[in-house]
């Protein structure tokens, strides 16, 4: 059995089990698994989420779903779907490339030279993820990014971060988060890792203007919250 088949079976079984269980229990019990995909948009989080960024191996957050408590944040929801994909370590650092962060930014795959159509995905899927976010994209019956696509993009991030021609820019603010930033001049691609958790944050190609501004001021994305 190849990985894709195993992944599809695991996903189908999980969803089927959750549908059955929720039907039986009427959502009155405490759940210890993520909500089924079509309920992802209905979760209510009691508190503010993760002010300082995700900590490595942080425990699940409590989320209420129609009166019941469930374990799941955006991270956990995505992570559970891609639980069969291991995180990758960037050689010579403590930085981890998590499958969930790669899936969340699946729409940036073409910046790393990936062709979504080779993975049974379309540009429309990627556009939808970019506008709605992965979870709402799924809730709106969008295609879940193929596991092989997530693995391929994760591998590209690793190859990128480890390449000798990729500049290590040190710790810099990226959309108001302190990150270890690596950047390649020729392609204008950058990849940040959160400095507190050492986990991958995002990754895409900067515009020529953004690239030059980053060279001048070492900042990507203004902090509008302060």
């Amino acid at each position: 059995m190849n990985f894709n088949t195993a992944f599809a079976i695991a996903l189908t079984s999980t969803v089927a089990y959750m549908i059955y269980f929720n039907w039986i229990q009427g959502f009155q019990l405490v759940h210890h698994y993520p909500p089924r995909i079509d309920e992802w948009g209905n979760v209510n989080n009691g508190g503010s989420s993760n002010v300082g960024g995700y900590k490595k191996r942080a425990g699940p957050k409590s989320i209420t779903i129609t009166g019941a408590t469930n374990s799941g944040s955006e991270r956990n929801l995505i992570q559970n779907v891609y639980s069969q994909i291991s995180n990758l370590l960037v050689e010579g650092t403590d930085w981890e490339i998590t499958a969930w962060s790669v899936a969340k930014h699946a729409h940036h795959g073409p910046d790393f030279g990936l062709d979504p159509t080779k993975y049974e995905m379309t540009q429309t899927d990627l556009d939808s993820i970019s506008v709605n976010g992965l979870i709402n994209h799924i809730n709106q019956n969008g295609t879940l990014p193929n596991a092989n696509y997530v693995k391929a993009l994760q591998k590209r991030w690793k190859v990128f971060a480890e390449h000798k021609n990729v500049r290590k820019c040190g710790i810099q603010p990226v959309m108001a988060e302190d990150c270890h930033v690596v950047k390649h001049d020729r392609t204008r691609i950058f990849l940040p890792f959160k400095s507190d958790s050492e986990e991958s944050f995002t990754g895409y190609q900067l515009t020529k203007n953004q690239f030059q501004n980053h060279d001048k001021n070492g900042i990507i994305g203004k902090n509008y919250k302060n």
């Binding site: 993760n50 506008v131 021609n165 203007n209 953004q210 994305g221 509008y224």
Partner: protein
């Protein structure tokens, strides 16, 4: 930095001798792309390119304004705006690839900063409050920030 069309053309011609970057890449091709290092002229060339692209963004400001107004007065859907932004960036690169150059209007300076800033905001928008991170925006916050940038755009680039 002043735009110098002659120099821009000369740099582009020298670049043309090397291989053009492709969009879809195998693992091997991706690795090869990373092997490429900027030469001494790279940063000057990038600066000229950015000026041409900024000019293109400003020349299309009416279309941007229309899309921004639509966004502010309706539901948040920034796909069209994002596509327009990307298309103009790509168009600038395509023009250069064909050695078609424009004379950037000095008045366009800074317009690309504003439009880049505006488009970057979308990366921080999360429509679902239950999933929103502390650094991410609600619809209300996003619209307020877009409005602020929009006012500045209209004032500086009528």
């Amino acid at each position: 930095m002043q735009y110098n069309k002659k120099k821009h053309l000369k740099l582009l011609k020298s670049l043309h001798k090397s291989e053009k970057p492709r969009k879809i890449l195998s693992d091997k091709e991706f690795l090869k792309l990373l092997e490429s290092r900027p030469d001494e002229n790279f940063f000057e060339l990038e600066a000229y390119s950015a000026m041409i692209i900024s000019h293109l963004h400003r020349e299309n400001r009416e279309q941007y304004f229309e899309l921004i107004e639509k966004l502010l007065n309706g539901p948040i859907n920034f796909l069209q705006l994002r596509k327009k932004h990307r298309a103009i960036n790509d168009a600038g690169e395509r023009l250069e690839a064909e050695l078609i150059l424009l004379e950037p209007n000095p008045k366009c300076e800074g317009f690309d900063d504003l439009i880049d800033k505006l488009v970057s905001l979308f990366n921080k928008y999360c429509q679902d409050p239950s999933l929103r991170e502390s650094h991410e925006f609600s619809e209300e916050e996003l619209k307020k920030l877009i409005q602020k940038i929009f006012i500045e755009m209209k004032e500086r680039y009528p």
